[in-house]
């Protein structure tokens, strides 16, 4: 399918910063509430941001820019999902292992999730976060995140 892109509406550095702030707010909300769906809302926000970046074939570029905005030094993170999680979630609570698991889950959803389905419904239907992440690793192998 020929994709209609939005190159005529540039995504500014300020817009990138605003997007990261929005996800940080989502993360804070999810941490301060006891709602079990909070983490799904946060991950869904990460998913939706990287999804449109990927559609525009800019996911790696924007993720790299997002990492450059962080206090240096930052680890080398190739996967855009993992990079955005690193930039927006508290690294004391989300260590490398958790980040890597969530990134695998989101990559799995990117391949198999129906556009109409919410991330939380998809993940629940597929057995939960751990199972989705494991499935991704099984199908595609673990990649560096």
């Amino acid at each position: 399918m020929l994709q209609q892109r939005t190159a005529d509406v540039p995504f500014s550095l300020e817009a990138l910063k605003a997007s990261l702030e929005r996800l940080q707010t989502e993360w804070d909300k999810c941490q301060s509430s006891r709602d079990r769906d909070g983490i799904y809302r946060y991950l869904e926000s990460v998913f939706k941001l990287v999804e449109w970046w990927a559609y525009e074939r800019k996911a790696k570029e924007y993720a790299r820019q997002a990492l450059q905005l962080q206090r240096q030094p930052v680890p080398k993170i190739a996967d855009p999902f993992a990079a955005i999680i690193f930039c927006t979630a508290n690294p004391e609570k989300v260590d490398f292992k958790v980040r890597s698991k969530w990134a695998r889950l989101l990559r799995y959803a990117k391949v198999f999730k129906d556009p109409d389905e919410s991330l939380s419904d998809f993940v629940r239907r597929r057995g939960g976060i751990n199972k989705c992440a494991a499935r991704y690793a099984r199908y595609f192998g673990k990649s560096v995140t």
Partner: protein, 89 residues
């Protein structure tokens, strides 16, 4: 000149069209490119954290109001309603 299809929710469309109207009214006979005004307004709204892009279920890039803008509008509405009831009383 072909018009680009910008897909937006109601809130963002209102803001973008208002911007277009202002731009059009502010000029005296000069040609105003609607696509350019739409594009510049969307860039501005995104930069201020008021609009966000996403892929809709049909795989199209769309813009919608961020929770920040929705909260702001909701507060405005609450204030307006309170003022209304106070005046009414």
């Amino acid at each position: 000149m072909p018009t680009t299809n910008f897909h937006m929710d109601k809130i963002i469309r209102e803001l973008v069209e208002e911007s277009w109207e202002w731009d059009r009214l502010g000029r005296t006979g000069d040609f105003v490119d609607k696509n350019r005004v739409f594009s510049e307004t969307l860039v501005e709204l995104e930069s201020e954290g008021d609009a966000m892009r996403f892929l809709d279920s049909r795989g199209r890039i769309c813009w919608k109001a961020t929770p920040q803008l929705r909260d702001y509008l909701s507060d405005l509405r609450t204030d307006a309603l309170e003022d209304f009831w106070q005046e009414d009383a």
